[in-house]
Subunit: 196 residues, 2 copies
DNA sequence: ATTTGACCCAAAAACAATACGGGTCAGATA
DNA sequence: TATCTGACCCGTATTGTTTTTGGGTCAAAT
């Protein structure tokens, strides 16, 4: 941890405020006041409000990544891992409220400055899914023609359902449907040789 | 056809204008002027601008319904019908630009007045999917535990991908991914007894 | 049964004045 | 040298006011 203590105080304060009031309704002054500092110091650690927000989103997604990697590293069979992966991914992501704001932004405004954090997560997910699918194929649990394109399709699907789920707050309403959906994904991947 | 000629002229003019400028940027006067009538006459046939817009959306969805019913009525095997159904549904829907506006509206404003037309389509789709899935199950092409909940999950999925597809104009970009996705759906439904 | 066009009025657009807030920086602190 | 401050700048958001627009009505005409 090369970061100073102040830096993480700033990020924590920023996350709190952005979560409650959103990007636009949060002022740099508020974030600074909350940790009893002058707002000038925020610009010592971050070159802009946008960069600070990006850092907050990065942390949110970082947490999700950590949790997902625990699942991926587990020693259950591939299909169980995949099922847990998606259920957890969708559930944990529902708590990443600043990330949600960037999702919404895709429609009206352009939060170009947050593209980094999101691309990074997409890359993470692509690597993990390709890896599990490959492993599952080798072990005979999964049987698909083209891993790469299947991963693409599933990632597109998951990103798509994020919108109604998080922006229209339908997570609770759809919870059982999500279960069904994840089962369908598993079912479409499952090899005929290895039916548990 | 009990409708007068004027009525359909109005709807046509309305569809043109709403398509080009959207609901808010289209004025009742423009719609009337375009068919060389006074705007008062619009209120002889429709009780409000909202009702007129609803009629336009109803027509758009009506066209899609007609085309889909042709597919459903075909005598191909269930899996082929299902595949064609979804590919056509997603493609045709991409031309229903006034329907797209109601999708976008879900996020900010509330086009409550158009709920009818959309609920009607959802009902249509639910009935058709349940019917094909039932037929497919009976014929042994499909093997699923619960038809009802599978239909719900798939309908939720399809409505979800409409958002990126139509509101962010990613239809062309995602066209091949859609293909993959529909194949996955088919695969998850397919019975092990009847692999073509 | 249809259509017109003048009319009403709530809501939107246009405009002006003001306040706010992101970002800078010279200097203080330690 | 690294960290922090608070006054300052200035584009933009906000607020308040006026004007225009456009959905909807209706008595009269066709």
């Amino acid at each position: 941890m090369t970061d100073s203590n102040t830096r993480s105080l700033i990020v924590d304060s920023a996350r709190m405020h952005f979560s409650r009031y959103g990007f636009h309704k949060t002022t740099m002054d508020e974030i600074a006041k909350h940790i009893h500092k002058a707002k000038g110091v925020l610009y010592y650690y971050f070159k802009s409000k946008e960069e600070l927000f990006n850092e907050v989103v990065k942390q949110e997604l970082g947490f999700v990544k950590t949790e997902l990697d625990k699942i991926v590293a587990g020693n259950e069979d591939s299909l169980t891992i995949i099922k847990k992966y998606f259920l957890t991914r969708l559930k944990l992501m529902s708590t990443a409220v600043n990330y949600h704001e960037t999702l919404k932004a895709d429609f009206f405004e352009k939060y170009h400055f947050v593209k980094d954090a999101r691309d990074d997560f997409a890359e993470f997910e692509s690597v993990r899914l390709n890896r599990i699918f490959k492993k599952g194929t080798e072990e005979g649990f999964i049987e698909i023609k083209n891993i790469e394109s299947t991963v693409n399709a599933i990632m597109m699907l998951v990103r798509s359902i994020e919108l109604p789920l998080y922006l229209q707050n339908k997570y609770t309403e759809y919870e059982n449907i999500i279960d069904e959906l994840v089962s369908m994904i598993i079912n479409s991947l499952r090899s005929n040789r290895n039916n548990p």
